[in-house]
Symmetry: C2
Subunit: 349 residues, 2 copies
Amino acid sequence: MKALDSLYEAQKIAFSPFVFQTVYTMLELGIMDELYEERDGLTVTEIASRKNMTEYGVRVLVEMAKCADILELNDDKYSLSKIGYFLTRDEMTKVNLMFTQDICYKGLFHLKDAIVHGKPEGLKEIGPWETIYQGLSILPEQLRKSWFEFDHHYSDNSFGEALKIIFQHNPKHIYDIGGNTGKWAIASTKHDPSVRVSIFDLGVQLKVAKANIDAIAEIKDRVDFNERDMLNPASEIPAGADVYWMSQFLDCFSEGEIEAILLKIKKNMKPDATIFIMETFIDDQRFKAAEYSLVATSLYFTAIANGNSKMYSSSALKYIIEKAGLETVKEHRLHEDRFHTILEVKLPK
Amino acid sequence: MKALDSLYEAQKIAFSPFVFQTVYTMLELGIMDELYEERDGLTVTEIASRKNMTEYGVRVLVEMAKCADILELNDDKYSLSKIGYFLTRDEMTKVNLMFTQDICYKGLFHLKDAIVHGKPEGLKEIGPWETIYQGLSILPEQLRKSWFEFDHHYSDNSFGEALKIIFQHNPKHIYDIGGNTGKWAIASTKHDPSVRVSIFDLGVQLKVAKANIDAIAEIKDRVDFNERDMLNPASEIPAGADVYWMSQFLDCFSEGEIEAILLKIKKNMKPDATIFIMETFIDDQRFKAAEYSLVATSLYFTAIANGNSKMYSSSALKYIIEKAGLETVKEHRLHEDRFHTILEVKLPK
């Protein structure tokens, strides 16, 4: 890259909060939608009149957006560029942007302190909790919406393929560690009418999972609930599982904590049992945009969620697995949902 | 641009506050300087040990910075890219970044409201004033530093060339409208030992200017101070000037206000007098990085400074000049400082 271009890119970063808020404002005020409809573009005066805004307000926004290659300008008419199109119409991009604005923007101001103190110092901008998990169910409506849409976008389409992989092993009993709202327990007991699932999670999560599962007659007798703090050194996972399932769970912990969790499972594990770990690994992504999303998510964990976890690379997680005395025997990259990989882990032979 | 590349660029924008805070944190913690010194790069472990940080803290930062092309990774060693070099060592880039962090980051969260209400709704994040001008002299130290370094970076090198242009007209008496700290009055009276300067400004500014000028024996008898609110419809600018000087002054006002100020000057202006308007116009910049800086500065005016002003294009300002019944007879682009243009304005013949 030429020096002048690098200088320009450096300026884009130095002023990036201006561009971010410009796009958010143009989305919220409906300017992006208006420009999406009018492919030939609109003048400042036309936008101002349609959106009942001052020309001044429209002008500062579109001038910034044009400079950032989000809009194009021809004969006084502004129209969406391809980048502007994705910001307006692409689901992943919008989910990312709203998550950034509602959950992360203010908290990221404290990123430096979060890193220095090893605590999610930005969390205070949205609530008085130690970790965001304590506040999720009581977040203000708009923030809740943005958090869950982000979370679901990166998980909703992975279960179909995951079920096929896990049930090749014909498990009779699955331990769902970090079972959360019970989604996997529901999917797997529905998938196989004879399988049993034991959920292990914090009490506050079990309540939600139990309510969801008790409402489904055909499965409720095959699921049980076990309150367990995986970070408590005294807590145990009993023997009995054919398959251990952890989906987007280990990324909520530090490397040392992940090793401790794996050791806890290993301690009572049957010789033929299998641990399946489903994650979105930063080095397994086919698209740069997806890799970017995941890497940024690490800083959400640092500054806002809990201060010490991150999205891992598959090589980092396999290293921890090995350190815990376990063996990664297979690696399944899911094709349908683009984001996930399942690691198949066993006791060494 | 290909669709996949545009999608990637859209993601960069959606997560841009993450990248901005990553760079700010790496600058403040000295990681960027460390990498500048070690051209061959450093591993995560080496950075953590040199800066006394956790490897986790270093890793989330460098992974984000690498994804954003600020760092490069070779054999586990991270080093500065060209973009990273400018973020670490280029004066304009650092001045812009610190201004964004200290003055604008939090306030920009309220950009949408600022545009809807026509008020600098973000200003409350740094102080309880109606406009930032009331708070400038009492800003907390770090914020004051960032504001003034930003301001000075875009003005300090323009006076030498400007003096040559203005004194080709051999003015006996200059009216310095919006004289601020008295910098121009000092420079011009020192430049020509016979010229007189009358400063017109708000009382709070005149105090500062008077203190600065009274300290310089050789000029103090040739400068007088006139308290004037240019936005007050009843205020007048008397006759008497050969030259009117307005430097980075009109960009603090809306288009309508600029017209009113020009009409106020025109009313009592001598037929041969000249108005010189020095501005940084967004359409007169030779470098994209400079244009970007100025366009973003508009949104600082919108969200934080006063809610209704901006950096103008020269065509927009010439249009207002014409509307006020005046004529732009010449346009001087300054070469030394790269940013400024001086418009030479007269009464129509």
